[in-house]
Subunit: 337 residues, 2 copies
DNA sequence: TCGTCAGGTTGAAACCTTTCAATCCGCATC
DNA sequence: GATGCGGATTGAAAGGTTTCAACCTGACGA
């Protein structure tokens, strides 16, 4: 493999100075058409590829944005990413995606590398929003925006969706549909989302004057399809008197698992069991019984996050903002008789 | 924002030369414990962050691998990515993901930037495997491996799965289950995968001595859930005599759409209609009627691709290889009465 | 004919790190 | 007391690009 040609080589080949080559690259209008042609030809001949490290070192500015995602296999996050991507494209930046796969260690090493690469900004859905590592990065000068999570202190910009409201919407809908025994399925409980959605569910329940013990909680060990099935089995095991007629799941994966269990064991949905999910991923609408779900503006979430980070990177009098979006209930067959 | 401290600043603060600081960073054993301490403290105090561009410029070597994915919202590709990620982690490289979202233009600009960044290697599932842009990149010295696609000429390494065999497996299974009228649903036809799977289906059909016209083909405009539903409607519109009792879909998204249509219109699966998908994404097993599907070794695909690209990057007598994996039929309820 | 001007072009400095040969120092050995 | 040794540290060069002040060359106006 022939080591890549440099501007110097191109300059020599085209019989111009190296400053001119750089001009062709960066300010093509300042160089006469003939020379430009000659230089471009030399580049093509030599297979010249601009060395981005050197460019960045000298120019001091990078052309990329990064999103450290929590779990690339969850469609929710890839949708957020595509919103970010759209914004990045508009700003003529390129987006690199890193996947921490739920591991704090991986997240940390991604953050470190991105920082060293002097990316314009880092968007991150952190394993633990309270990790001090995030503050460190921000303190050292790389703009950081937290996506789909929030923090008590307002130490950086964040975008999230009002999960308490989302929980309320879901349970209000079930109350409207006449259900009097409802289950909330979600976990693990240390996740902010899981707690907030539960909180909203309880608020709505209490506001309707229903007895607290008629809102059953079932805790799962993770937010997956498999756990949803498992939860279905546990529900089915309850004595008929105490068995809920509707379930609100902390996300769509759980809801899909639950739905699957119901169908395979002959439980009619929504006749015997109504189901509400959360996230409204594409597979929710595509399920065998299309799923009622709480929709989050995923793309918008991403786009807004990108705009915030760019503002922080470019605008001298930037101030941190915590943007909270409003979720929306999408009613489908799984709750509509 | 205080412009980031450099090794020089750290050296000054710690009262050592700048070479020593570099040693602390790269060969910590060569510097005495006390000095090391002092330097590390200075780094922490100043919030020093190593400038990766400068490092890379001088050292000439980058620590990253890239995967340009075709469509991040398809779980198949994120699974492939996680296989790559695992291999990258083993090799102590970090992986950046780029999403071309089915656009040749975006793909091109990602390739260009990655090349300029001198990544160790590029893995790509290209929009068009025959695009000359890929050759250019490779010719100029960046190792390129094509993932989940192949090319007639063997100009670079590739990993893929034998789609003809996959198609055969699917249809053989349906023949075994006694079906005599089968439909193949897939499209657009210019995709290699779609053609190959169809080809395999026809081979199996012919091998069983079935009349060619009893294998109906339904072409879709893309491989999505929506198109699957649409295909379901078209099937339902056929006169009963000519209506197939089983369908083989070119991917799981189509199959899920088809399943959804069947269930919502009261067609029993598999009783009246058996369905086979392709890819065996997680949602296939999680569907209301768990889907029989042709499984591809996704993670392995990714891992192998990463190994090939690393070999090309590091091994002087590397030779291009086209690895072809064998798919496997996973039979589930959607075909098992 | 001289001065001015503008469009092209040049050359050197700067960006920050790594590398490596050279130097330094204290200590053991003869 | 001189020599040699090894570990720790130093200083300068190199890597490819961008930037910017300076320079060159015709052309044009006076």
């Amino acid at each position: 493999m022939p080591r890549s040609a440099s501007v110097k080589d191109v300059a020599a080949a085209a019989g111009v100075s190296l400053g001119t080559v750089s001009n062709v690259l960066n300010r093509p209008d300042r160089v006469s058409p003939e020379t430009r042609e000659r230089v471009l030809k030399a580049m093509a001949d030599l297979g010249f590829v601009r060395n981005e490290s050197a460019r960045q070192l000298r120019a001091g500015t990078s052309r990329t944005l990064a999103y450290v995602m929590l779990d690339a296999s969850n469609p929710f996050f890839t949708d957020v990413a595509s919103g970010i991507d759209a914004a990045a494209e508009t700003a003529d930046l390129s987006l690199v995606l890193c996947n921490s796969r739920n591991s704090a260690t991986r997240e940390l090493s991604h953050l470190a590398l991105l920082e060293q690469q002097r990316v314009q900004g880092i968007l991150v859905t952190p394993v633990d929003p309270d990790s001090p590592a995030l503050d460190e990065v921000a303190r050292r000068g790389t703009p950081v925006v937290v996506v789909d999570r929030t923090r008590a202190d307002q130490s950086f910009c964040s975008v999230a969706v009002d999960d308490v409201l989302g929980g309320r919407l879901a349970v209000e809908h079930l109350i409207d549909r006449g259900h009097t025994r409802v289950a909330y399925v979600g976990g693990p409980a240390h996740l902010g989302q899981v707690r907030d959605r539960h909180e909203g569910a309880r608020e709505a329940w209490a506001a309707a004057g229903r007895p607290a013990d008629a809102l059953v909680a079932i805790e799962t060990s993770e937010l997956s399809v498999a756990e949803g099935r498992e939860a279905g089995a546990r529900l089915a095991g309850l004595p008929a008197r105490r068995r809920p007629t509707a379930v609100f799941c902390a996300n769509d994966l759980l809801a899909l698992g639950l739905l699957q269990h119901a169908i395979s064991s002959g439980v009619r949905v929504p006749g015997e069991l109504a189901i509400v999910g959360y996230d409204d991923i594409d597979f929710a609408a595509a399920a065998a019984v299309p799923l009622t779900s709480v929709r989050q503006p995923r793309q918008l979430l991403g786009r807004t996050a990108a705009e915030l980070v760019l503002d922080e990177a470019g605008n001298p009098d930037h101030t941190h903002r915590q943007v909270l979006f409003t979720p929306e209930l999408v009613a489908r067959a799984s709750t509509l008789g």
